[in-house]
């Protein structure tokens, strides 16, 4: 992690203006609103297109479009946290168009739940600002100050959705002492904590239960960047003992500045320097349950964040064999041999991020063991330390595959060990961007490690090539190359393993070997499994694939879900931050001689 510069002058001025609260001499306290007794606007950019889009109706299959529409069957909840001086809030939408009465944006404050639906932006002609909301403040002994937010879409009909541009905050109090929140942060849906800080020096304290044996991965990300945003920079401080972690009292911190290369995809009109780098801290496991305290603190400026505290219950190590060539000096035929080490490292680090992403932060690949020039498996020689290689990097143009995974061993083939299969990958020498190739690795791990089935989409009846522009958009096991290569940002493409509930509810899997988007080719209702119905040539049902989804992952790896078990829409976050996954404390890549 890189360290950074001195605080800007403005930050020092604002810090100096803070009146120390009597209760909180030792720790930074929340700041007051910049302008008392009126609304203060704080940018908070979030957009429904962070969730899966209606892929079948995507405007531009090769890129993000502001006219894309949200997908059906979304149900995602999160929280929005405020400094303790904030007593009223308004959410400001730059766009709000949902299917009226069926798709909803729900906001719960201390007075109840407000349901927003329909068209509230006059079809793009005006912004929509909510009435004043009163953040939940359950217990005066603590500092709970949040709204519960939730977006749901039903089974049919979508729209362009909502986009938040910021919040208006009103401080009814000032100089509130620094206090902790009353509850640990793991029990709300999807684990995401959003929030805004009012300016330099402002701080928000959280705490999370770290379960025995679990690593705890805490992330603080900026909101979605946009053209012309004022730069701001937040930091993360962590301590298992001090309820108020600070720059001077912490066991771990992440104080990265701006201008990181975090973003996997370019954003038109956006300047990289405008956005803070993601801050992240990995807290090592201990043998007992404990509370870990953490603080999000503004180093400079006002702005929004998305924070996650993921209990990581599964830590994995995989072996990687480069098959039949010396990667220290190799190139495809006709090219000059070169050292491919960096390409391999880039791929494995990106795969670490993509795997963490696909499992919604429940599993981490902490170690990769690379073996050079291993014999082909057909020679019946196991080249990775005398064992079969989990990953085989091959040179014969294999886009990606899993041998002896799903289907060859039935449900018993969870993991590599049972059938000694391998993930094959032919995209490791820079012929595909590392982030894209990593999606292929993770897809194959879905087969070889979790025993998941494919969920291809867009196949016409009786097989054949995919029809252009068709994709179902729900999981990384929807594995056609077309989806993997999509360059959307914010990423709204299938990069999670699917939950049971985000399967398309009206379709069923065709099962092994069937070209399917959860549809089985049929001629009548009688030919559809599980009482499904036959629409022309495709079966439809109302249940999920028993060989896919989180339930199946859990069957393969029960300890991975010791703390939480995703039941709604997977979190739409991306975890491709190459700087973080390049940290040798998180991802050990060992090159064997």
């Amino acid at each position: 992690m890189k360290k950074r510069r001195q605080p800007p002058v403005m930050a020092l001025v604002l810090l100096g203006a803070i009146t120390a609260a009597a209760h909180a001499e030792a720790q930074p306290a929340p700041i007051n609103c910049p302008v008392p007794n009126q609304w203060n606007f704080i940018p908070y950019n979030d957009d429904v297109r962070r969730f899966p889009v209606d892929a079948a109706n995507a405007v531009n299959a090769s890129g993000y479009s502001p006219a894309d529409r949200y997908a059906n069957n979304i149900d995602y909840g999160w929280q929005m946290w405020f400094s303790s001086n904030v007593t009223q809030v308004q959410l400001v939408f730059s766009r709000f168009e949902l299917e009226s009465g069926y798709d909803k944006f729900l906001i719960s404050d201390r007075n109840g739940t407000m349901v927003l639906t329909g068209v509230l932006d006059n079809y793009g002609f005006q912004t929509y600002t909510t009435p004043a909301l009163f953040p939940v403040q359950d217990d005066p002994s603590y500092d709970d100050n949040f709204l519960n937010l939730r977006f749901t879409s039903d089974v049919s009909v979508d729209d362009v959705g909502w986009a938040l541009k910021g919040v208006n905050v009103w401080c009814g109090t000032s100089n509130q002492p620094a206090l902790q929140r009353s509850t640990v942060s793991q029990y709300h849906a999807n684990m995401q904590l959003n929030g805004v800080l009012l300016g330099s020096g402002d701080v928000r304290y959280f705490k999370t239960l770290q379960k025995a044996g679990n690593g705890l991965f805490i992330h603080v990300k900026p909101d979605t960047p946009y053209r012309g945003r004022t730069a701001y920079d937040l930091d993360l401080y962590v301590s298992p003992t001090d309820p108020f972690p600070s720059p001077t009292s912490n066991t771990q911190s992440s104080t990265r500045g701006t201008n990181c290369k975090d973003r996997p995809y370019p954003i038109p009109g956006f300047t990289q320097e405008d956005t803070m780098c993601e801050d992240a801290v990995y807290v090592q496991p201990v043998s007992y349950d404990r509370i870990v305290y953490w603080a999000v603190r503004s180093f400079s400026g006002a702005g929004a964040y998305r924070a996650y505290a993921n209990n990581v219950a599964k830590t994995l190590a995989f072996t990687v064999g480069v098959e039949g060539v010396n990667y220290k000096s190799w190139a495809p035929q006709g090219q000059t041999p070169m050292d491919q080490t960096q390409n391999i490292l880039n791929l494995l680090r990106a795969s670490s991020g993509a795997f963490y992403q696909a499992t919604d932060g429940t599993a981490v690949i902490s170690r990769w063991e690379i073996y050079n020039n291993v014999p082909k498996v057909t020679d019946n020689v196991y080249g990775c330390g005398g064992s079969p290689c989990n990953i085989r990097l091959v040179t014969f143009g294999e886009g990606g595959s899993c041998s002896r995974g799903y289907g060859l061993g039935g449900a018993a083939s969870c993991g590599f060990s049972v059938l000694q299969g391998s993930v094959y990958d032919g995209q490791w020498w820079g012929n595909l961007a590392a982030g894209e190739a990593a999606l292929g690795i993770v897809h194959e791990l879905g087969h070889c490690y979790y025993n998941m089935t494919d969920e291809y989409d867009g196949c016409p009846p009786n097989g054949g090539a995919k029809v252009g522009g068709i994709f179902d958009g729900h999981s990384i096991m929807n594995s056609s190359h077309r989806e993997f290569l999509d360059a959307r940002w914010p990423t709204s493409w299938p990069q999670d393993f699917c939950t049971d509930s985000n399967h398309r509810k009206d379709e069923v899997s065709g099962g092994l070997g069937v070209c399917s988007d959860h549809q089985t080719i049929c001629t009548s209702d009688a030919s559809c499994p599980n009482l499904g119905t036959c629409d022309k040539t495709s079966c439809h049902g109302s249940y999920s694939d028993p060989l896919s989804g989180w339930a199946h992952m859990k069957a393969c790896s029960p300890s991975q879900f010791a703390v939480y078990y995703v039941t709604g829409t997977p979190d739409p976050e991306t975890w491709y931050n190459s700087d973080i996954w390049a940290d040798s404390r998180l991802t050990v890549i060992h090159e064997n001689p």
């Binding site: 049919s156 362009v160 522009g469 119905t533």
Partner: protein, 172 residues
């Protein structure tokens, strides 16, 4: 699968239903595309939530129309008779898109007709052009009939998700 209807080249607008072709996905979105000069009906669809009944009808003009005007100048007919329901209370201002929620259980198999008054005007005063209603070349120049004739066999989950396909403007 939503019951997605769009204007066909005859009086009866056939419902593509579950078998909607994917080609429709290539058209531009309703909201984003630039409005044409003339006021015409751009698209219409039936929406079902249970696969058996029509829950609402929605239609989109090429230009904004005052909601207050629309409320008194459109009739929704089933088998030629007005069907109980109400125009959605939103949007509150002028809009290109409207929705009529049907009361009662209108089966998906029933043909539903949108009948517009000849005096429908856009916000900027343009009259609805019957010649631009693809269905409007016969004796009922301001009607669009929506049906689901090809939806047999769809079962209990037959509505298509997604937006209504826009209609290719007819040649003048």
């Amino acid at each position: 699968m939503k019951t997605s209807l769009f204007l066909a080249s005859s009086l009866v607008l056939l419902m593509a239903g579950c078998g909607v072709t994917r080609d429709e996905a290539t058209v531009s979105p309703l909201v984003a595309q630039p409005r044409e000069e003339a006021l015409r009906l751009e698209s219409a669809q039936l929406v079902s939530k249970d696969g058996a009944h029509v829950r609402y009808v929605t239609w989109t003009f090429t230009r904004r129309v005052p909601r207050s005007l629309m409320a008194s100048h459109v009739r929704v007919l089933v088998d030629g008779s007005p069907v109980p329901g109400e125009l959605l209370a939103e949007p509150y201002a002028d809009a290109p898109t409207f929705r009529y929620d049907l009361k009662g259980d209108v089966p998906l198999t029933a043909p539903i007709t949108l009948r517009f008054d000849a005096s429908v005007r856009s916000t900027d005063g343009q009259l609805l052009e019957p010649a631009l209603l693809r269905s409007g070349t016969t004796s009922a120049p301001f009607e669009a009939t929506l049906s689901i004739a090809d939806m047999t066999g769809c079962g209990a989950h037959c509505w298509r998700t997604g937006r209504s396909p826009a209609v290719t403007p007819p040649s003048r």
